[in-house]
Symmetry: C2
Subunit: 406 residues, 2 copies
């Protein structure tokens, strides 16, 4: 019931609009900002003045393109004025990154995670240790906005409780709390499902830039989905939304890791692909590599396995196109590799299993960010507090006079 608005709300919203624009579309001139926001030059001046005074932005000489009129200074965000720390817990790797305003990656590190190395506390330790291996070292604590964590599992967004994470064998693990305690910083730790973060990253920096209704499907051993509705992530009542890998797709189907059977991921996940290609279901990343190597070399079994997997993908995808009416479907992980080989198969089934109207509007593309999408998405989520309220934490550090010029 915080419905009431006041003057400060307006200022916050306007500052936020400016910072959001700069963060998503890059540096722009003040007059561009006037055009984009509809605010007056006076207002933009005051607002940008506040941002520069607080150190979040800088104004540089205009990039004059030979147009008449007084040149407008270019406003850019200061990447290291506010940064996100993000972590990703992958199937066989751990990653950490520092991402600054504007989406500038200030540092990334990856490390292998041996299978079976699942113990929560040691993973938390490993993540924190990764920070010291960053080229730029640990960021100063007072510029860190928040910590974002991507994990392949069902995550309660409120507090970062990992309800289940099959790849890690986790059930009811309070990852958010553990990491927050270990870091001992005064910033929030935000844990999200990796597909939910992947779609955000692809929307901000990847294949879905500028498109507001996106379905992202990430396939590896398991299959996860992330949905963007009107530019905002669909999280559901508690953050569990997007578990499309466990949609009942075939009957009776084989047992799934989740305890059910016939789940979609049992027929489109890595295991199904491997089996079709003549490998054991648990042949892992090496097996997958061999399938794609075979396909690249023209091996008929590998190609047929990819096509069959594409068909299974296309069928259920049709159902989701009917249900969500996305403008774009982004295929990530295994599926982005699969796409070139199975494009026709996917579309053949999609056409048969979707209604003409939503189908006519949708495009299917492979992801462009690769394996780092969840890591980058976690950073985007972690930066959100500054974007939403630029003056809240940083601008008012010293009660800066707004117009310190003249």
């Amino acid at each position: 019931m915080d419905l009431g608005q006041r003057s400060e709300t307006v200022r916050r919203a306007n500052l936020s609009a400016i910072v959001h624009t700069l963060h998503e579309d890059g540096p722009q001139s003040r007059s561009d900002l006037v055009a984009r926001t509809g605010l007056t030059r006076s207002a933009i001046r005051a607002l940008v003045g506040e941002l520069t005074a607080s150190g979040l932005a800088t104004e540089d000489r205009a990039v004059h393109l030979g147009r008449p009129g007084r040149p407008s200074p270019e406003v850019s965000l200061v990447a290291d004025a506010a940064v996100a720390v993000s972590f990703s817990i992958g199937v066989d790797s751990l990653s950490a990154a520092i991402v600054g305003l504007g989406g500038v990656v200030l540092g990334v590190v990856h490390a292998d995670r041996p299978r079976g190395h699942d113990f929560v506390r040691s993973i938390v330790d490993d993540l924190v240790t990764l920070l010291d291996r960053l080229p730029a070292g640990r960021p100063a604590e007072d510029v860190v906005v928040a910590v974002g964590v991507a994990v392949a599992g069902v995550v309660r967004s409120r507090d970062g409780l990992v309800e289940t994470a099959p790849n890690l064998g986790w059930t009811g693990v309070p990852l958010g709390a553990l990491l927050a305690a270990r870091l001992d910083w005064s910033v929030p730790v935000i844990v999200r499902n990796e597909a939910d973060l992947g779609v955000l990253a692809e929307h901000r920096r990847g294949a879905a830039v500028g498109i507001d209704d996106v379905l992202y499907i990430h396939g590896e051993v398991g299959v996860g989905g992330g949905l963007l509705v009107d530019g905002h992530p669909l999280s559901g009542a508690a953050g569990y939304a997007g578990e499309i890998g466990h949609f009942p797709a075939v009957r009776p189907g084989i047992p799934c890791r989740c305890g059910s059977s016939g789940c979609w991921e049992t027929v489109v996940g890595a295991g199904a692909l491997l089996e079709r290609a003549g490998f054991p279901r648990d042949a892992g990343a090496q097996g997958i590599e061999r399938v794609f190597a075979g396909a690249a070399a023209g091996d008929a079994t590998a190609l047929a396995a990819l096509e069959a997997t594409g068909r299974e993908l296309g069928i259920v995808l049709g159902g989701f196109v009917n249900s969500f009416n996305p403008r774009l479907v982004v295929l990530g992980g295994l599926f982005s590799q699969l796409y070139p080989y199975a494009q026709d198969a996917i579309w053949a089934e999609l056409e048969h299993h979707s209604l003409p109207a939503p189908r006519a509007l949708v495009r299917v593309v492979p992801a462009t960010l690769g394996g780092d999408a969840p890591l980058l998405g976690a950073a985007e989520v972690a930066l959100e507090p500054v974007l939403a309220d630029p003056a809240g934490r940083f601008g008012s550090r010293v009660g800066v006079p707004v117009l310190a010029s003249a």
Copy 2:
């Protein structure tokens, strides 16, 4: 790019918050509004004063409940100060309603629509004629906010083009434009899918009041879905979202009206239920009535048919619970009748085909609004413009002095 906010934005937002609250939660005292919005007494006084001055609201003596302190006058919306005209095109009926502020139904009429009576222009004529059969007659044009239309079909929300409506045999029918031309009013005509409107009605006035993440599933001959995310309808890129009846559920399955095969509605729609109960698939409403009559009388075949349909419902419902993480599933149409007989079957399959975390949070209930839900939802959508900007169309009719009191 209309990101810029100004002072007037605040006033509009605050007026809107007040009107929305009164519309959804009914009459309240000014002090209640203070508590709910977080605004000050002064602000509420001025805002409510503007509403009463423009005739949208009235202030009556307080309903004193024996609490100490000066009594606070009760603010209520004036139902007939702004009304919506809504229409519904059902399988075998046409309906029209006038709904005022606060959701007060000022008049409803229903008429039979004989099967085969599908010609667009005659249906449009019939709808408009219905208005004259309303108890209160046609509303004065200047209090009509908008016209809302519910139709069982795939509707492009932008302009009300009905892409397909299988029950009516329509393809590419510009229903919105035709109705607007026939009415010749200067208000917008808003056409939406009936399930999308049904979920809105159940949220505002029915089984889902107070719950912001809702999946509504409406089953008749076809099956449609409406999703509410964070209190807002999920419409997708063009308004086509929610066509869950055509989710590929079985393979190969029987052909569906949509041209595909194995669609969910082929196993949970009225046809499937009828067939299981020993009737022809096209036995219609009478057939359905006989199935339920049989079940009520304890007929084993009828009961088994209902249970089997419930199982099919529960299986795919599990997938949607995983995908959307709703807090509530509302079953409408046929499914609300089916629910008492098939509750256990639905839950048995739902438990098997959904993940523990989202399942633990979800409840399944039958709809409470019955067949009028789409009609009421259409009215709610059509009232939205006044709720969003109470001063925009009505308040500033004569440039009313805000504080005409004293």
